[in-house]
């Protein structure tokens, strides 16, 4: 494959301005991430130390194989919810390597309200287990959670994708033959108790680990029975009497050591044989992405420059280079894995939609995973385009994309507005993983457009009702709408609500996709086939 030739002038004023802008965004992202990961009240940390417990990140570091990557997911989940009371949604999830095997890790964070599950905690754990199911990845639970956060129980407990889904997903994983291991570090009460119980293997730490449906206070309140933690659900009771737990461990470190040995016993993955070549670093420095991404969402840029800084050797085989040019399609390698890339270079027209649909079919026919790089303002609108069938052409692309049997991955690079989000494998389309860059905005339309639209509607309403047009009220409405919109358009809102699997430093994209691609091969390819294309 030929190397892409970059047209970027890294000495230009634009480049340097963009670079400064995006590095500032990145610094702000890292700052938020650092807060979410490490800032905790001293009181909680002291309590942990007194119990001889490690922080969840220490446990993960000890669990992982040395010299291997850990792809953390949704590190800023819940960053705009609950007044910031639930950093990272009170848990850590990600994909890492344990005893040579790719696993999903779910770790409760007992430094936040005893690891209690907020609504977004449940959503994040469910998502992690969905990833495990979709990719057939074994799961290691590092359990240290008091269960649901009672004050918000209506948003944690009852609905289809709330806490119950965790246990449903655990059961389905087991049915699929995907292993799960729980290491019990703390008191796992109520719902939390089912995680080790539904795991194929579990290890419990003597002294600090406990598993029970109701803790001593609840037991006392319900039946009057007075019983201590150890007797009710401690390590020795569960490993020698109830059989709820398998291995007792003297310390957290020993539990992790046993856990690693357990994972080492598991049969190796049977991955499907995606084409893989020797990897090669990109020929262009990925850090140049900071100077390529604009400082204004309205400024366009060439996605080939982005591709050149993500794919192996910056080599790209472009499909239909002269047709439907607002959608760049082509083949490339990422960490050696052959992928088909679809990247937006402007609004989607009829030809670009048809090209996209066709390219997706080619990749499916060739068993080539798909990578979508979104920077889309939508499908073209207007009389001419509707007459040419822009809606049914867009529908073809959505149909082809939705029905793909190859793994799909999406990176939100700059903007994602309107139905373009759908055609380009937005969150609703079950991509294996979806990441967002810090500069990205997402919404049904841009803030200006939304404010304009609502102001227009209001004006018409006033006119219809024969009211006098109140310019000031219209201006207020416009400003209000735009401001509310702008907040919800940001990458931070998106990631807070788990509309993605986390914000990525653009430079990290290549590694994240490499890990994601590798993980995706654990699941067999889906069943090929499509629905009805409207021609």
């Amino acid at each position: 494959m030929r190397r892409l030739v970059s047209m970027i002038d890294t000495r230009s004023a634009d480049f340097r301005r963009h670079d400064a802008h995006n590095r500032a965004l990145l610094a702000s992202f890292r700052e938020k991430q650092d807060q979410a990961r490490h800032a905790r009240p001293l009181r909680d940390l002291e309590r942990l130390a007194k119990q001889g417990k490690m922080r969840p990140r220490e446990r993960i570091e000890k669990l992982l194989d040395p010299g291997t990557p850990f792809l953390e997911l949704s590190s800023l989940a819940a960053n705009m919810a609950y007044d910031g009371e639930s950093p990272s949604a009170s848990c850590i999830t990600g994909i890492g390597i344990v005893a040579g095997r790719e696993v999903v890790i779910h770790a409760d964070d007992s430094t936040v309200k005893g690891g209690a599950w907020y609504p977004l905690t449940a959503k994040k754990i469910v998502r992690a287990l969905d990833i495990a199911i979709e990719n057939r990845l074994p799961v290691v639970h590092l359990s240290d959670s008091a269960g649901g956060f009672l004050q918000l129980q209506s948003q944690v407990f009852p609905d289809r994708h709330m806490a119950g889904r965790i246990f449903r997903n655990q059961s389905i994983l087991s049915k699929l033959g995907v292993k799960q291991l729980a290491l019990v570090f703390g008191q796992c009460t109520a719902g939390g108790a089912y995680i080790p119980a539904l795991s194929d293997y579990n290890v419990i730490v003597r002294g600090t680990g406990a598993v029970f449906l109701g803790g001593p206070p609840l037991v006392r309140a319900a039946t009057g029975e007075i019983v201590g933690v150890e007797e009710l659900g401690g390590a020795d009771m569960h490993t020698s009497i109830s059989g709820t737990c398998d291995y007792p461990a003297a310390t957290e470190e020993e539990a992790i050591h046993i856990g690693r040995e357990i994972v080492a016993q598991w049969e190796g993955p049977k991955k499907w044989d995606c084409r893989r070549d020797a990897p090669e670093d990109p020929a262009y420095d990925p850090a140049e992405l900071y100077g390529i991404l604009p400082d204004d969402i309205k400024t366009s840029f060439d996605m080939r420059e982005v591709i050149a800084r993500i794919v192996d050797g910056s080599r790209f085989h472009e499909y239909q280079p002269a047709y439907g040019t607002t959608l760049v399609c082509g083949f490339a390698n990422i960490w050696g894995f052959r992928v088909g890339i679809l990247a937006n270079n402007g609004v989607l027209f009829n030809d670009s939609s048809l090209k996209g649909a066709h390219f997706i079919e080619l990749c499916n026919q060739n068993n080539t995973p798909l990578v979508f790089l979104q920077n889309i303002t939508g499908y073209m609108i207007g009389r001419d385009y509707e007459r040419r069938g822009i809606t049914k052409d867009g529908a073809k692309m959505i149909m082809a994309q939705s029905c793909s049997h190859v793994p799909k991955f999406t990176v939100m690079c700059n903007g994602s507005f309107g139905a373009g989000n759908y055609g380009m494998c937005g969150r609703a389309f079950d991509g294996r993983l979806l990441f967002t860059w810090p500069n990205h905005q997402i919404g049904v339309m841009g803030g200006d457009q939304a404010a304009n639209t609502l102001a227009e509607v209001k004006l018409n309403q006033m006119k219809r009702n024969g009211e006098e047009v109140d310019e000031a009220a219209l201006r207020d409405l416009w400003a209000e709408t735009r401001s509310a919109y702008q907040d919800q358009l940001s990458a931070y809102y998106s990631t807070s609500e788990l509309w993605d699997d986390g914000i990525l430093d653009p430079v990290d994209t290549r590694n994240a996709l490499g890990i994601a691609l590798s993980a995706s091969l654990n699941a067999p390819l889906g069943v090929p086939g499509y629905g009805v294309f409207r021609f």
Binding site: D65, P66, G67, T68, P69, F70, L71, E72, S75, I97, A99, G100, R101, E102, A264, R276, P279, W335, G336, F337, G502, L504, D505, D508, N511, A512, G514, I515, S518
Partner: protein, 507 residues
């Protein structure tokens, strides 16, 4: 498992083997070494061993094996009566005692003879004469061999002390029946004499069951020079030149060489002649070693005579080309010495290093462990005398000497260089050994200069201590170790792609 490259042994017309079967009443490297010559001579070998030694090298090498009973392995190897019974039971013609154990036990030698077997060694009365320090010194004095001014034991301690004081200080107090450095004491002033004498006597009675002690002039910076002799038992004796064994720790040799470093020819001839005189006077029959102390002024005096094969005999074999075990066997069989004195010549220089399981940085304390790795140098100029195998446990049951590395060179400098190189290629891992220390001694400028004396190691202790490791050395060592740990190798093999290439990465 011994792999030895022998220097060319002077070819002797192969006559009928003097014996059909010989029992080797020893173990370890010396048993293996004796059996090698037995095999070359077409003589069947019989090994003896204690139950704990069933898979020892000498047992595996022997043509026949007898297991000895004994409360401890050492007790079994010291049980002369049982060994004689074993030799008769298997129909052996002779017993070779090696060194140590029963090799200088006159009663054993007599018992062997009385059982109708041949003891490969001198007559019992010669062993007795030379085994007793006092009778040996008196015999030497009587035959014109220089001896140190000394005081013989008397029943009267006060008289002993007075006589000793008259010789002057420093004085060496020794057990009359002693050996191996036990019961020895240096006294530097009259004030310490009485206490030292009392201590030496009590140690002597504890170790040797004989509390008699004697005192002699202690030579400062003495060199230990010994002469290898062969006697035919009929007054005929020749020497095979000298060895130097001055590098010692705790009165025990660790590096020996032949010939001695920078010994004037005339002095060498004088010393060798004295040794031959002694052997002839005793009608000595066997290979033997006459040990002398040589002082800085070139005066020497008789120390003792060892009536057996010496640990360090290979250096002599290397520079003379004579197989001393073969010579012992032929003499024991009553054959004549095949060689005249003028047929013995020296070729080059040989150095022997005793590889011991000991912690040189911690008072030479014996070390124990399991041999995890055994790698040794090979080559025409190298003999690695050992009976070691991987997995062997090194215990305090036996002597800490595990093996001997003997290296030949065209001259002393080359022998030293080759010995250092050979030590570099030697690895006995799993038990602490003195290999690094030996290499540092050989490489020491004072050693190269031949400035040797028995206090060499003490004098140069500071410069012989291992230098502090550098950061770079430590890093290399840690990396080399890391690459050997099972868990690390499992990870190395087990980490999948692309993760192994992405490496440590956090987003």
């Amino acid at each position: 498992m011994t792999t030895v490259s022998c220097p060319s042994v002077r070819s002797v017309a192969e006559a009928e083997p003097p014996f059909a079967k010989v029992l080797v009443a020893n173990r370890g490297e010396i048993a293996v070494r004796v059996m090698r010559t037995l095999a070359e001579m077409g003589i069947a070998s019989v090994a003896v061993h204690h139950a704990v030694e069933r898979s020892a090298a000498h047992v595996l090498l022997a043509d026949e094996v007898v297991e000895l009973e004994g409360a401890t392995p050492i007790a079994a190897h010291l049980d002369g009566a049982q060994i004689v019974r074993a030799a008769r039971a298997v129909g052996a013609d002779a017993i070779h005692p090696g060194y140590g154990f029963l090799s200088e036990n006159a009663d054993f030698a007599r018992a062997v003879g009385e059982a109708g077997l041949v003891f490969i060694g001198p007559r019992p009365e010669t062993i007795r004469l030379m085994g007793d320090k006092i009778s040996a010194i008196e015999f030497a004095r009587a035959n014109g061999v220089p001896v140190a001014p000394s005081v013989m034991p008397t029943g009267d301690l006060d008289a002993f002390l007075a006589e000793a004081e008259a010789i002057g200080f420093p004085l060496l107090i020794k057990a009359a029946a002693g050996g191996g450095g036990k019961g020895m004491n240096i006294v530097r002033s009259a004030a310490d004499l009485a206490e030292a004498a009392r201590l030496a006597a009590s140690e002597a009675s504890r170790y040797f069951g004989d509390g008699r002690i004697y005192a002699e002039r202690w030579v400062e910076r003495p060199r230990h020079i010994e002469v290898q002799i062969l006697g035919d038992g009929r007054g005929g004796a020749i020497h095979l030149y000298e060895r130097e064994c001055s590098v010692q720790r705790r009165f025990q040799k660790i590096i020996e060489e032949a010939p001695a470093a920078a010994l004037p020819i005339a002095l060498r001839d004088e010393i060798c002649a004295a040794a031959v005189r002694l052997a002839r006077a005793a009608d000595y029959a066997n290979a033997g070693t006459v040990e002398f102390i040589l002082d800085a002024d070139g005066r020497f005096h008789f120390l003792e005579m060892n009536t057996r094969l010496q640990v360090e005999h290979p250096v002599t074999e290397m520079v003379t080309g004579i197989d001393l075990v073969r010579a012992q066997i032929e003499i024991a069989a009553g054959r004549d010495l095949r060689l005249a004195q003028d047929e013995i010549s020296l070729r080059g220089h040989a150095v022997e290093c005793r590889i011991c399981a000991e912690d040189t940085e911690n008072g030479y304390l014996p070390a124990t462990g399991t041999i995890r790795l055994l790698e040794h140098p090979q080559g025409r100029n190298i003999r690695f005398e050992n009976a070691l195998s991987r997995g062997q446990k090194v215990t305090t049951d036996f002597d800490p000497m595990l093996a001997k590395l003997v290296v030949h060179g065209r001259d002393r400098g080359e022998a030293i260089d080759r010995a250092i190189e050979a030590l570099g290629d030697l690895a006995i891992l799993g038990v602490t050994v003195n290999v690094d220390h030996l290499a540092r001694i050989l490489g020491h400028e004072a050693f190269r200069a031949g400035a040797l004396h028995t206090g060499f190691l003490v004098e140069h202790a500071a410069t012989l201590a291992p230098p502090a490791t550098s950061e770079a050395e430590r890093d290399r060592a840690l990396i080399a170790a890391l690459l050997g740990f099972h868990e690390f190798r499992e990870l190395m093999a087990g980490v999948s792609e692309p993760h192994a290439s992405i490496g440590f990465w956090r987003n």
